[in-house]
């Protein structure tokens, strides 16, 4: 709901098509391409007429904008629809900066935060400075960089449960880096990374919280 609040606050009308479910990435990443296609077709059908599709996740946005085309290589009609939707897919921070063209959404939050770069947002969509620019305008928030901001948190979808020890080890490396900043809050653009990071923080009993960028920007 935080994303809706922020978008409305900066003057956009938001719709939430209730038919929507998932983009299909879990199936694609686990090797189930047919199942991924089934779910992707549902997504494309639900959103076919949307003007802008704002996604609160770099990973889902990358799936839709980059992998749909690959999935539908031999299905020209769906491929055409996927291509038509590509330019309308916007990850939340990119939408604010490049379409809505706002940096200051009037947010206030008295915390010391560190920003975690989500892999797909960073490497597939080139999201690096954007969220930091938005956070820099949040009153009361001080931002400290991690030494391993770009290192994966270890979530990786089904990887997290297929290889729990490796995934957990990666999460602990991440929270070590978070702790060295002295921040009491980790901000990210993907709920899945934050789930992994918060899950590991909670298990370690550390008094550090996590918030999605939209939640931070919704605070006032």
């Amino acid at each position: 709901m935080a994303m809706v609040d922020v978008l409305e606050r900066v003057g956009w009308q938001v719709d939430f098509p209730e038919q929507q479910t998932c983009c299909g990435q879990p199936a694609l990443n686990t090797g189930y391409r047919d199942e991924a296609r089934t779910v992707a077709r549902h997504f494309l059908t639900v959103f076919r007429d949307a003007e802008y599709i704002v996604v609160p996740s770099g990973s889902c946005a990358s799936m839709i904008a980059h992998h749909y085309a690959e999935l539908f290589q031999s299905e020209p009609e769906w491929l055409a629809l996927a291509h038509r939707l590509e330019p309308r897919i916007w990850e939340f921070s990119k939408f604010l900066l490049e379409v809505a063209r706002v940096e200051d959404v009037g947010a206030r939050l008295e915390r010391v935060a560190t920003f975690h770069d989500s892999c797909h947002g960073l490497r597939d969509l080139g999201i690096k400075e954007g969220p930091r620019r938005l956070l820099a305008r949040v009153r009361g928030l001080s931002l400290r960089e991690m030494d391993a901001a770009e290192e994966c948190c270890g979530f990786g979808g089904t990887f997290s449960v297929k290889f729990p020890e490796i995934s957990g080890g990666m999460a602990r490396t991440k929270i070590d880096s978070i702790q060295r900043t002295g921040a009491d809050l980790v901000v990210g653009i993907d709920a899945s990374c934050l789930l992994q990071i918060q899950g590991a923080l909670s298990r370690a009993g550390l008094p550090v919280g996590t918030m999605h960028l939209a939640e931070v920007l919704a605070c006032r």
Binding site: T21, C22, A27, G31, Y32, G156, K162, P164, G199
Partner: protein, 477 residues
């Protein structure tokens, strides 16, 4: 995943000293690389990567042509080219050669290709002594281990480990100072260089237009291996061929930088043919063994043949958060890290280690640093889908397949999707806070795997859909 790999992964994760060794060594290599590819230092780095990718692509797409050209150039310079289908044929050739020369000792400079075919063990079995002369390789050879890393074979060994190893195997006094350890190795290896009849090297590049084998090293051992013994044999995969000597301008810039953060490796040797009249060094005979060992099978796959572009710099290993956790000996074959995860299933077959392509969070750090821009995550996804297809054919992983089918069915039905949320909330308890454990009845499969490492949030008391409907209703009033 089962068997020795799982055990090795556990051991590595639990060994705090080893974790530290891997982290600091790979971390150093990462920061050294970063320092020499930064835009202020190398503004055309991205263009170089693109160019390297395109040259490799062109070479691989026209491999037959360039291999023939390479061969005719080698022959014109008095050398010989041998095509080997597999490791057995390489061994056969070397044993024949050794027999002809009465050779018992071969010195080797670092070569992953010969590791791939277990050359050392196979030569030993036939009474020939192979001696590795790269310090790291020498250490792992003495320890009778596989290289831990493509570029840094003994990355996992501390100087104390090396001290123990040297005193055990070489009968010298225990020495923990690295410089002195190097001196010990050097004095042993000098004798081997002088006594060996055959020197075996790998090749970083095979240059088609000049018939040159290019070998880069940092220790100078490559030069001695290829020039001191009477015969030099280079063993190289067929994918190592590049069209022109001038292409090296691109590759040499990228290789040292990506591997160790050096603008240029210390020694770059261009070896073309045996010693000619009037030359003061070089071998009397010069052979290049071109190894297939499954490479033509990779070549047949249009999408995945880009795996053959790899120049073995090891950057993807250093930057891989999974490699950095599990280390080099947890992988099923000699090639570890992301590149290992994509080529092992292709060389050995996807059923050999079906878990391997799944052991990645798909973070993409590997592709980002790959100097020849191999799309590693994309290839991992392709391999995953191949594994799933084979498993479906063989009736394995039934439960998972059923699960994904049911999931896909539910994801097309928003009402059911919503109900699943309520059910999850009812089962695990909705509201605030985090779940550390669940009743035994529920503690299975993915949920148990998740909770073995991390807590799980409770589902919010009201779903987004409920909040959305309430908000719209409030707006209407």
């Amino acid at each position: 995943m089962t068997g020795p790999q799982q055990e090795k992964i556990r051991q590595t994760l639990d060994d705090a000293n080893l974790q530290l060794a891997i982290y600091s060594a790979t971390g150093r290599l990462m920061s050294h690389r970063q320092a020499v590819v930064a835009p202020e230092v190398l503004p055309d780095y991205q263009e170089l990567r693109t160019q390297a990718h395109l040259v490799k692509q062109h070479a691989i797409e026209n491999l037959d042509h360039y291999l023939e050209q390479f061969e005719s150039q080698v022959v014109a310079r008095g050398g010989k080219v041998i095509y080997a289908r597999d490791g057995g044929e390489v061994v056969e050739f070397l044993l024949d050669l050794a027999k002809k020369m009465g050779a018992r000792l071969m010195v080797k400079s670092k070569s992953m290709t010969t590791e791939e075919i277990d050359l050392n063990e196979r030569l030993e079995r036939h009474g020939v002594e192979p001696v590795e002369t790269d310090l790291g390789e020498y250490i792992v050879q003495l320890a009778r281990e596989r290289p831990y890393h493509i570029v840094a074979p003994a990355l996992h060994k501390t100087r104390y480990d090396v001290a123990d190893l040297f005193s055990q195997k070489l009968g010298v006094e225990r020495e923990t100072e690295i410089e002195k350890q190097t001196k010990i190795a050097r004095s042993v290896l000098r004798q081997k260089f002088l006594a060996a009849d055959i020197g075996i090297s790998g090749a970083n590049f095979l240059v088609a237009d000049s018939g040159a084998v290019v070998v880069v090293t940092n220790e100078g051992n490559g030069r001695m291996t290829t020039t001191l013994p009477r015969v030099h044999v280079a063993v190289a995969g067929i994918e190592k061929v590049i069209p022109r000597a001038q292409d090296l301008a691109v590759f040499l810039k990228l290789l040292g930088r990506s591997a160790t953060g050096q603008p240029l490796t210390v020694y770059t040797s261009f070896l073309a043919g045996p010693r000619r009249e009037g030359e003061i060094d070089g071998p009397e005979e010069f052979y290049v063994v071109l190894l297939d060992n499954g490479r033509t099978r990779l070549l047949a796959d249009r999408e995945k043949r880009q795996s053959l572009y790899c120049i073995r710099c090891g950057a993807c290993l250093n930057h891989c958060p999974v490699y950095r956790k599990v280390g080099g000996h947890s992988y099923p074959w000699v090639y570890g890290g992301p590149i290992g995860a994509i080529i092992t299933p292709q060389y050995l077959g996807v059923t050999h280690d079906p878990w391997l392509p799944f052991a990645s969070s798909l973070c993409g750090a590997c592709e980002e640093v790959c100097p020849v821009k191999i799309e590693i995550p994309k290839l991992l996804l392709a391999l995953r889908s191949e594994v799933i297809k084979v498993k479906a054919r063989e009736g394995q992983s039934r439960l998972e397949r059923l699960g994904f089918r049911a999931w896909a069915w539910a994801m097309r039905r928003p009402r059911i999707y919503e109900m699943l949320g309520f059910m999850g909330s009812a089962l695990l308890g909705g509201g605030e806070g985090w779940i550390r454990r669940v009743p035994k009845l529920l503690n299975h499969g993915p949920l148990a795997a998740w909770l073995s490492q991390r807590d799980l949030p409770r589902l919010p008391a009201r779903s987004f859909r409920q909040l959305w409907r309430a908000r719209r209703k409030a707006g209407e009033n």
